[in-house]
């Protein structure tokens, strides 16, 4: 017969369980990481001999060749800094931002991350970025002068230093050479203007495949082409973040141009998986996209014999160019490991490392010294992206906090124009008015 639990034993057991649950739920709150004073080194970590750096990067840098490279960097860094361990975690960009915003409030922050320049403004507002100006000033001139000045200036705002530049991108125009040749187009002739492109997409469509994929209805892709309108500014946002710099007449020209190409345009957006399928299977002639598309196309070259190249997105005249640009940087978070996290950020961003990143991944880095590396110089994609970066317009405000949702009207009015529900001129005016109204609400 099973032995029954006595009332006393039962009450004792239940009391122990309740107490354990209460202790688990009411554990000590994580201590808030003290914000650093301007550039002063932080307190020593709990164990000076062993430091673990929690490092978040983008999930596409945490796979494949990029991950192999980062693991190599980690091994080299750990060998040079005994007792230091770097833990790399890949996350989508939005998750990195939300994690930092939540962590800023709770004090649970990683030590260093990589994040878009566009998120920098919000992160500054919630004090999630450590000011590492003292460490920056202590570096040699050679180290400091290697970075692209226009990008580094963004990170030195308000007298501080909020991180180091890493990757940058500019969108380019991929061309399916087989589709072009079969349509009677000589790829060597290039595509210098919007008129050239219009003629070529029409010729491609006349031969069967689509000329290009859809632009209107995506704020990001519309920016690829808006920059090609003569006389547009490279910044899309006013300095105070309360209005856009778009000109209604110029945006009307973009709307009208894309409508004129509608018969030659496939419905999938340029960034859709379906659009990639189309160019890989010789069903579309032109696709504007970032450099990250190149590895997929290279796989197709090997597997199915795809022939492609890329050029700068043309503008209205031969001296105008389209393209949108953006960048990512490596900031350090406030906490006990700021000094070692800075060392890691500086190591990853340094020319020898970024040159390897650029050469092997074909990704443009905002590091002028790395761009001079012979292997990087030989990489056509990096050189093209570097040229396009200089001519492209900003994807949005960098290191500036602005009202969220400001890009939505670009999507809405682009859609209305594409679907024939609104005239280009009327849509451009209404779009800019609405964007400015959202921005004027402030943060």
């Amino acid at each position: 017969m099973a032995q029954k639990l006595s009332r006393r034993e039962f009450l004792r057991l239940a009391g122990l369980m309740a107490g354990a649950a209460a202790l688990a739920a009411c554990g000590p709150a994580p201590t808030e990481a003290p914000p650093s004073d301007e550039g002063e080194p932080m307190d020593e970590p709990a164990s000076p001999e062993e430091v673990t750096i929690e490092f978040w990067t983008f999930n596409d840098f945490a796979v494949g060749t990029a991950l192999d490279l980062f693991n190599t960097f980690i091994e080299e860094f750990e060998e040079a800094n005994p007792g230091v361990t770097v833990n790399l975690t890949g996350k989508p960009g939005e998750d990195i931002k939300t994690g930092l915003v939540a962590g800023a409030g709770s004090g649970e922050l990683p030590d260093a991350v990589q994040i878009q320049l566009g998120a920098g403004g919000d992160l500054l507002a919630v004090e999630a970025l450590a000011d590492v100006r003292a460490y920056w000033d202590a570096e040699s001139d050679e180290f400091r002068n290697q970075f692209t000045p226009s990008v580094m200036d963004l990170l030195l705002k308000e007298g501080g230093c909020w991180g180091l530049p890493f990757t940058a991108y500019a969108t380019i125009l991929y061309r399916n050479l087989t589709v072009l040749r079969e349509a009677g187009i000589d790829p060597d002739a290039g595509v210098a203007t919007w008129d050239d492109l219009a003629g070529q997409v029409a010729a491609v469509k006349g031969n069967g495949p689509w000329g290009m994929c859809r632009v209107l209805g995506s704020d990001w892709i519309q920016k690829h082409w808006y920059g090609g309108v003569s006389g547009t500014q490279q910044t899309t946002m006013a300095d105070d973040g309360l209005s856009v710099t778009y000109d209604p007449e110029k945006y009307t020209q973009l709307f009208e141009y894309m409508l004129s190409l509608k018969d030659y345009t496939a419905e999938p957006f340029m960034y859709d998986t379906a659009a990639t399928d189309l160019i890989v299977t010789n069903q579309v002639g032109f696709l504007s996209m970032g450099p990250w598309l190149a590895p997929t196309l290279e796989e197709a070259v090997a597997e199915s014999g795809l022939e492609y190249d890329a050029v700068q997105i043309p503008g209205q005249t031969p001296s105008d160019f389209g393209g949108v640009r953006g960048g990512e940087f490596t900031p350090v978070m406030p906490g006990p490991n700021v000094e070692m996290a800075w060392k890691w950020a500086a190591y990853v961003s340094d020319a020898p490392q970024t040159a390897r990143f650029a050469a092997q991944l074909g990704r443009y880095l905002a590091n002028d010294q790395a761009l001079q590396d012979p292997e990087v110089q030989a990489n056509w994609l990096v050189q093209l992206t570097a040229k396009a970066f200089g001519d492209a317009i900003d994807e949005g405000p960098f290191m500036m906090q602005v009202a969220a949702g400001w890009g939505q009207p670009e999507i809405d009015y682009g859609t209305l124009v594409w679907e024939g529900e609104m005239e280009p001129g009327e849509a451009a005016e209404a779009m800019i008015t609405e964007m400015n109204a959202i921005l004027a609400e402030g943060v």
């Binding site: 009450l11 239940a14 919630v126 999938p268 379906a274 906090q401 009202a403 969220a404 949702g405 999507i411």
Partner: protein, 299 residues
């Protein structure tokens, strides 16, 4: 002979048994709920000291740009996805229940598979399936002469796209619950109904549904609560980001998307909390109506 304890002491062991759950419930549900209510009366960016603003956040939310649109979208979405989703789950449960054990196991696993596939993967695949001209769905519709549908960019069809993906994902899960309920219905009831001359539809109507009612009610209530908080499906399908979310012409704008956008896009946690409490009120009202209807018809 020992006397039994009187009053509360008599039930002390019972109360002690629920203490662990209750402690965790208070810590992880009630405290955050109360905290959120408190934050909803403040302007707070998540880091600095909250500033009391009274009911201003609630007013700001109700008069905001996309508030009406998001609730209109929500009403359309919930009404369609609940009807289709629960009906399909019920029919699939009846179908699988009629199979012999081996094929029943196979089909049960197959229908449950979409529930366990990570949503970001499902959304990526479905974005491709929904692609105009070249997606499988449009190709299949084209065979029947239907022109290509812009599932993800035309506001007329965007909610339908969300419903399709949600039904695909959640039907298997609901089917499993209903199937378990069906297994609990005594066979004698069906035999008696057959003897009385009931056909298949009558057996389902007069035996299956009344016997399954408690489980069906659970599935329906849970389904409504889940549908009213829809976020991940439209966020992924519309390729939303904090700079622009909800898709073209806000065809996939829903309340929880706006809550997340306000919190992590605009760093307005006070407004986001106020919005969340307004949504909670809607969910509570809907749930109470369901319970009231159930009480009325079971009396």
């Amino acid at each position: 002979m020992a006397t039994r304890p009187k009053g509360l002491l008599r039930f002390a062991p019972n109360y002690l048994m629920i203490v662990p759950f209750f402690v965790l419930f208070v810590a992880f549900y009630l405290v955050p709920l109360a905290y959120g209510l408190g934050i909803s009366f403040t302007e707070w960016d998540g880091v600095h000291t909250p500033e009391f603003v009274g009911l201003a956040n609630f007013g700001e939310v109700i008069t905001s740009r996309y508030f009406e649109k998001s609730f209109v979208n929500l009403a359309k979405y919930v009404s369609v996805t609940m009807v289709i989703g629960i009906s399909m789950a019920f029919l699939l449960a009846l179908l699988v229940d009629s199979f012999t054990p081996r094929p029943a196991n196979v089909f049960r696993s197959a229908y449950f598979l979409p529930t366990v596939i990570p949503l970001f993967l499902s959304a990526s695949v479905w974005r491709w399936i929904f692609a105009p001209d070249y997606g499988i769905l449009n190709i299949a519709l084209g065979v029947f002469g239907v022109p290509t549908i812009k599932w993800l960019t035309s506001p007329k069809y965007m909610i339908a796209a969300c419903v399709i993906l949600d039904v695909w994902r959640s039907t298997g899960f609901n089917m499993i619950i209903l199937l378990a309920g069906l297994k609990g219905i005594p066979q004698e009831y069906y035999e008696a109904a057959e003897i009385d001359g009931a056909n298949l539809v009558q057996r389902v109507r007069y035996v299956t549904i009344p016997q399954l009612e408690p489980v069906l009610f659970l599935v329906i209530v849970n389904g409504f609560i889940s549908a009213l908080q829809v976020f991940d499906v439209p966020w992924l399908l519309s390729d939303s980001a904090f700079s622009a979310y909800g898709g073209p012409l806000q065809g996939m704008m829903f309340p929880v998307m706006d809550i997340v956008g306000r919190a992590f896009g605009r760093l307005k946690f006070g407004e986001a909390s106020a919005y969340a409490w307004l949504l909670l009120a809607v969910i509570l009202v809907v749930t109470m109506i369901q319970f009231a209807i159930r009480r009325r018809y079971s009396d």
